[in-house]
Structures are given as C-alpha cells and as structure tokens.
Amino acid sequence: MITELERRLMEAFHEDAQRARLVHPDASSDHDEGRSHLQLDAARLEPEQHLVPVKENYVSVDSPPTSEVRNRRRLAVVAAAVVAVIGAAAIAINSMNSDDDVEPAPAVQPTVVPTTVVPTTVVPTTVVPTTGKPTTVATTTGTFVMSGVRLTFAVPAGWVDNDWYVSKLGAHPIFGVGFNNVANIYTDSCPSVLVDPPVGPTVDDLASAWANLPGFHATAASDITVDGFHGKQVEFTVPDYNHADCFNVDFKLLNSVGGGDYWAQGPNQHHKLWILDVNGTRVVIVATYFPDTSPQDRAALDEILASIQIG
C-alpha cells in the first residue's frame, strides 16, 4: 500500500532525475537498437588504475577535481567504450572479409589505450581450512599495489576482490581482508578523534598503539613473517558501541597515508593486523570478522592470509 507521501516522493524523484545532465552523446535511455554512435575527444590515456574499492569509498579528495581532471576521467571511460566499439568493428570487418576470397584485412589496432587491466587467473585449488571441512573451490588471484608494494592474494569462490580488500559476497556486515598504509589511528572512534601526537612510523610504534586504548582489548604484539618480510601481529576487537550513536558518523579506526580512513562495520568486529616492514614501507594487512562469522568463512579468511605474496 503506497501512501500519498510515497507517491509524491516517486513523482518528485522521477521528475528530478530528468534534470540530470547526460553528457554522453549516446546516453539517451532509448538508444537505437544495437546502434552505437559515439563522438568524443578521445585521448591516448594511460590511467594508472590504482586499486580502488567498491563498497564503501574509494577516494577522498581534499578539493574538488578540476575541470581538466574531470575531463580526463570522462575521456578515460568514454575512450574505453570507444576502444571496445572500435575493436568490435574491427572484428566485424575481419569477419566480413574472411567470407570473401581475398586476403583478410589486418586487424585494426586501437590507438586508444584506456586503462591498465590487471589480469586475473582462475586456478582451481584444494583448500584445507584451519577450521571447517576441506573444500575444493575455484580461486582467483587478486593484486593490490600500495605505495609501490605489490600484494598478491587468493580470492576464494564466493568472495569479491575490491582491489584494496577482499570481502565475502553479500555478507552483512562486510568482513574480509584489506590492505592499508596507516598513518595514524583513532583514539576515540565515535566521534572520530585521532591519536595526538600521531603514532610513530615504525612497525613497533603501530603494533603497540592499541595497547593503551580502552575498550579494544588489544593483544600484545607478536612476531610474524609474511612471505619473507618481518613484522608484528596484533589483534583487537571493536568495542560494543551503540551503533545508533554513530549513525551516519562511522566508527573510524585507521587513518591512511595520503588521506582517507578505514572504519569498522559494526560493534565487536574482530581485527587481526599484520604490520610489516616491506623495504621501508609499513604495510598493514587487516583481516576482520564478527563473532557470528561461520567457520567456513573464517577458513576462507585464513586462506586469503596464507596466500599473500609480496613483491
């Protein structure tokens, strides 16, 4: 049963949506059947696609992008679409030529290079979880580059590679394994108050930073080695805060080098941190789960952690 207010909302939103500025020349909702007409300033673009997350935030810019930057972004995406169409047309031309008794025309090489794509490979593997039953799953490989450090990791079937973190598909709240270059942490996450003075730059500085924070029940730092790189492991649990108090505020935990924050998905979210020194870069690998996370999912988390390769 739709109320009058709901009906008015629908009408207002639909009317308002028509005000959106569609700059793509082919962006009418009722394009011709199968036809694509694109006219644009294409560029030889090489967007350095730093891995960006999907679910919850990717970038936090201090100032709005310039129109030049916007145009470049626009070009990059539209150019990608154009390249695709060029490629399709080239294939079509080749296909038509191949039906004739003439030498097939050489494939048209797209002159627009829109993006660098990190390929993934599908490798069926048998996984022996630390808990739960061994399962045979299709696992893909993900890659994340952070401050020049390349991290490669397994993405189990049913999990999603969001670049900077891997999460269980459809999980609510979200949990998984993420990668971070931490500049500082929050001493009071709701509201967000950073530790002052900021934590120091070393692995030990960060590993010991939670010890004095009330409510986190952080473990003592222990030594670890991940793919030949030494570091510390520390675990803590997000306090049982009242989510309503943080409604639309976010319970922030980590502040990243270069800006940006990482925050919890809910009370009692457990965090296992691997803090590594990778040739001078402090790489933080964060695995999270909740008290009700299943043994199978915990095993998948372990699988991801165990698969991490650096360099």
Partner: protein, 180 residues
Amino acid sequence: MEYNGTVAPDVSEGVVARRVEISGTIPAGMDDDFALFYRDAYPGAVRLAWLLTHDHDAAEDVVQDAFMRLRPRLATIEHRNAYLRTAIVNGCRDQARSAGRADAGLRRIGVGAEVSSTDQPSELLDVVARLSYKQRVVLVLRYWADLPEGEIAEIVGTRPATVRSINARALAQLSKELTR
C-alpha cells in the same frame, strides 16, 4: 569494511587528445561487454548520482570513477548493476564529504550562480535534502530505483530490517517537516 582510500591518479600526464568519430552498428555477437554495459547503464547511473548530489559535475565524476573501477572486473562481477550502484552511492557520499557537505548534498542546489532555474527542487525535495545521507540513499533507491529492501541493504551495507527502519524514520521526518 569501509575505507577512504588514497586518491587514484586518473590519467598520466602528457595526454594527447584527438577527435574520434565512430558510427556503426555493433555486430551481433561481436559487441564488447563493457561498451554495451556502459551505454545501457550510463543514463541511470548519472541520474542516481544526480539525485544524491544535485551537482552535475560531481555526479559525472562519481559515475566515471565507478565505471573505471568496474571495467577491469566486469566479467567477474556477478551483479554488475548492483556493483555500479554501490560504487555510485559510496562515491557520492565521498564527494559530499570531501567538499564538507556530508548532509547537504541536495541542499547545495540553489546555491551558486551556476544553478539554473530548471534545477530548482520541489518543496518535498528540499525537505528530503535535510535528511541524513543514508536516509536519502534509502529513499532514492526505494522510490526512484524501485529496489527491494534486500538490494538496498546490500548497497547501503546493512540489514533489510535496518533499511525498513531507516525508510520509516525518513518518511516520518518528511511528514513532520511538511506539516509544519
């Protein structure tokens, strides 16, 4: 798990622009997945971003970024429309935050000389603009995108029951504001 990552460079310097014109029929079976998805999803994507930001440039930025992120993994994403919507919802939130207007995305309309008279919102939308970002997202996804609670919950990152609660609270607040 949520994150504001570092800024990803958009393109390298030294861009050489040129004009390309393409006109033709995409052959059946020869179409590129991304090209078709982009063409089909772009209008709705921009409209969603517009409804959440009421800023043409910001909406365009968010949508382009969302497509950029989606493209390399298009083939592996199970629900690409949901992925795109999620990226847009999060992107719009970050846009608002980065400009220091987390809860004023819609209210930005009417401020500044660039806003045309056709951009003037209705009284109802003006009240909607005073809701929290999460409430606005839920309302837009529910009453414009016509998504079920489950899908909205996935996008917002919460449970369907919470979506129901947010929706009810938002409607109650709207009703209260409108009767003042």
